[in-house]
Subunit: 564 residues, 2 copies
């Protein structure tokens, strides 16, 4: 069925392999974590020749992370996945170390794949990189690129994926995968988007029916059919602030007085007033359409979204309530090729360390330009929150396994604290999004302020998430999947009709369990044990206003999440 491209940077050669039997049934995170787990030595340096970032069918990107030292999978929207699938390519494995320090681009098309020199892209931001690639490869293409941050191999570097409008706005953000691509000397992967054909399903009619049903269920659900399309992900700002779990000024309090000014509601008004797009699909065929297009004060395109996590990281977390400044930071992050969460967290830590005052939006913007320039200060910020904390002697550094915590304080949303602590990827809200049950009342209802039941909840969601990530689906479908039994059945039917399998709900969950097992096994071999499955001590020692709660899920319950 599918093919695998293996790109050897040491010899600059590309070969094609048939997808092995064991990788046949699933893709996405199952594929990437499988390759990394089998082929990468767990104790290697993440920027060494031994590390291999493979790209799964639906842009799922994995490697040993230079930020956390763990296995890492990060997936993104955009059209790259679709283009690869139409070429019959299930994955790309990049290995070895480049023979020199020249930049290269990998071109993948209907006729095959080849590495080309791309020195003219050196130092360019993702926007300019994509523009140059469009000149060089006329016709319809999709691009995966790195900005200056990835070229500098900074641990907060992302990999950008172009969206429908050929803007590099969808990012595999977390864990420094852009640095791994940079260490391979690979500036871009260009995928021919014109040729190839839609992959045939074994049971075309069954696939069409299941897809129609699934789409209808998503449109009917209040989160995926209403809240997300109307306000985007930033619908959460007011909700989390209300719940007292909106981390403010480097996790020093749980409510931000400036939330209204940066909320999803205000964002929608601003977008509409300036002729932006309040609803937008980040890739072809999406029915949720939670993306948006943000215009500046002059009504010109500035950036996508920005998303809830980005607005929080550069906003409340830095004491900044200026939506336009935050949108500019989002644009800079996308262009420089930086994870918005890690970068915002690093700036928040720098503010806590006295480098600049909380609320200083201009100062924060300048810090991003420092990263672009590769100045020492920029390299500190681009090394992430943990490194910034070390450089500025900060004690309260919100990281797990070296990766910054996202936009939910684990003291007031305790389930997500369990996920942060025990995820195979370092602090990661998407690994098991208990905010659904803790705050939104979707898929159940678990009191966010009490320790009871959080470990069990996180465990169930981590398994489900690993399965969804392996099915090549956007995680946002989980809101519907967790609430509506027919939706999960529809996803199984989709998979079965496409691949000719007969997976039921239990089989779907079993894939998730297997992915977690693979990932935990890699991490164990890389030296991670239960002591690393912990939050920084200040979360259990310093009470969070307004609820005056600490994180108090017992260590034994954290250890029991993965049954160790």
């Amino acid at each position: 069925m599918g093919k695998i491209l293996r790109v050897q940077m040491t010899t600059l050669s590309v070969s094609v392999e048939e997808l092995s039997k064991e990788d046949q049934p699933t893709g996405g995170r199952h594929f990437t974590s499988g390759v990394v787990s089998r082929e990468v030595p767990p104790l290697c340096h993440a920027l060494s020749a031994a590390n291999k970032p493979p790209c799964g069918g639906r842009i799922s990107i994995g490697a040993k992370s230079p930020l956390t030292g763990t296995i890492k999978e990060s997936n993104a929207g955009g059209n790259g996945a679709n283009a690869l699938a139409r070429l019959g390519i299930s994955g790309i494995v990049i290995e070895g170390a480049p023979p020199d320090d020249r930049l290269r681009a990998l071109w993948v098309g209907a006729e095959g794949a080849r590495l080309e020199e791309a020195e003219e892209l050196k130092g360019l931001g993702n926007y300019d990189t994509v523009a140059k690639l469009q000149e060089r490869f006329p016709g319809k293409i999709s691009c995966l690129t790195i900005g200056p941050a990835g070229e500098m191999r900074l641990p907060a570097a992302s990999i950008a994926v172009t969206d429908e409008e050929m803007r590099p706005t969808r990012h595999a953000g977390r864990g420094g995968l852009g640095a791994v691509m940079g260490s391979k000397g690979l500036k871009a992967i260009v995928v021919d988007n014109e040729h190839g054909e839609r992959p045939a399903s074994v049971d075309r009619e069954g696939f069409r029916e299941a897809a129609a049903l699934f789409g209808r269920l998503l449109r009917q659900h209040p989160v995926t059919g209403e809240a997300l399309p109307t306000y985007g992900t930033n619908v959460l700002a007011n909700i989390l602030n209300e719940a007292g779990g909106y981390p403010t000024r480097n996790f020093s309090t749980g409510q931000f007085e400036g939330t209204e000014a940066i909320s999803g509601e205000r964002q929608r008004e601003t977008i509409i007033a300036r002729g932006g797009q309040p609803k937008h699909a980040c890739h072809k065929g999406c029915v949720i359409q939670c993306s948006r297009i943000y215009h500046d004060e002059q009504g010109e395109y500035l950036t996508k979204g920005p998303e809830y996590e980005t607005i929080w990281a550069h906003g409340a977390n830095c004491g900044i309530d200026d939506l336009d400044a935050i949108a500019r930071m989002d644009r800079l992050d996308d262009d420089i090729g930086l994870d918005t969460i890690e970068t915002g967290a690093a700036i928040g830590v720098a503010m806590a360390g006295g480098l600049l005052p909380f609320g200083d939006a201009q100062g924060a913007l300048s810090l991003l330009e420092e990263v672009r320039a590769g100045s020492p200060l920029g390299r500190i910020i681009g090394s992430g929150a943990a490194a910034t904390g070390r450089a500025f002697g900060v004690t309260n550094v919100p990281v797990v396994k070296g990766q910054a915590l996202p936009a939910y304080d684990p003291r007031a949303v305790k389930g997500i604290g369990v996920t942060y602590a025990t995820s195979t990827m370092g602090a990661d809200h998407t690994a098991g999004y208990t905010v659904a049950q803790n705050i939104l009342g979707v898929g159940g209802d678990v009191d966010p302020l009490k320790p009871d039941g959080q470990a069990e909840l996180s465990r169930t969601l981590q398994i489900a998430t690993a399965a969804i990530d392996s099915a090549g689906l956007c995680l946002f479908v989980a809101f519907c999947l967790l609430d509506v039994p027919e939706a999960l059945q529809a996803v199984c039917a989709l998979t079965n009709a496409h691949l000719g399998l007969s997976v039921d709900e239990d089989g779907f969950a079993a894939v998730g369990s297997e992915v977690l097992r693979l990932e935990r096994d890699f991490n164990t071999r890389a030296g991670f044990g239960p002591e690393q499955d912990r939050l920084p001590d200040f979360f259990s020692e310093e009470a969070l206003a307004p609820h005056n709660v600490v994180f108090d899920v017992p260590a034994e319950e954290l250890d029991a999440v993965h049954g160790t």
Copy 2:
């Protein structure tokens, strides 16, 4: 017998405790590691209120390290220990977090101890700090101080101890203990050196006799009686270079073409020609006297030594063959309060990352001034070699558990590689100095280039070292102890006569084993397992010239060192 001062920074109070029964028989590393192991939560942030740096009788300083995250003991010469002992103080435990960001000094004298504000010392180097303290506390004092690096809580910050001439030249260098002192807001500990009396031995005559015998044996041994007094520690430069294990330009080759110019022999000539002191005791009563006083081109005092490790770190490791420039770096490190090994290693990594060329002595000196100024670049260097590697995207970063490797390449001196990998402190040559048997033929003879027998050798030495560190002895006595059976008997007799015990050679070694057990237990609880007891992968993949060897002691043998 002895007393413990407990200094609570949160409440700014000092209390006196009797030394507990379990701490009674030994001191030094046994005392510090015991306190840290019992009283510090292993998962705490090393700069948090929970961490406690205790100072043992013979300046042994311990805490959870902000550099490695492990337990840490670092000991230094100078006169502070003697002064404390004369006041009957066996240890100082500093705990809690300061109530504000004001600097304080702890004064310890015959009448007791008190904390005083010391804001006027803010930002001062160790030399100026000591000068100011001498004005403020007239009479004979000894000082333990931190420079700007410690105040900034940089992970490479040291604690300086004054020598006989009241110069801050003896440092508890490794592991960032200066940052822990800085996090307590403690700029200085001032010990009254005028009052108090020599601690009485239970058997004075026995003590006098054993001391005389031990002194005689040390003077008779070729290393402690000849090589070290004549050439100082830097006698090793030519020897290690000859052996092909002198790490050059960030561990990229094993011989440095400029070794002659920075050797112990050349250093001695230079010192004598300029009227310096080619032989000097770093503390009262030392019979080895391997320290020295280095004058500049005008014949004025510039710095002590510098030691072999310092000359290597800033010299061969950075491709620099200018002894005067290296001596200036030593002076700056001492003044700013930086570990010379970690700092030189960080500069070498920055050179490998292209920040400045190898061999650029002026550039290296400027980097140290950047650390003093607290510039972003200085904060990267002051965060150590691992952080510098991350910021500049370097793959070959010579660290174990985040701490830089010292001046012996583990590929050509394989026993020391085992010590680096398995020490409880991160890469540390002093934890089990196999160079004696691998290179110097002292205490045995084990082929440095073969993997055989290295694990066993390192284990024996790690136990012996932990015992020597706990007896309050300088590690250099080990050359004689390992070679001459009567010397070990003399040390046992010294201990027994002083404390009224009856410890034999086995009992002496048992203390070492117990110290390692305590330290390993702390590290296990802090999340360190066998996977962290490894060298960076490039040592087993890239062969070292001129012997073209890789580090090939099998992982199972590393794991067997501590019997796990």
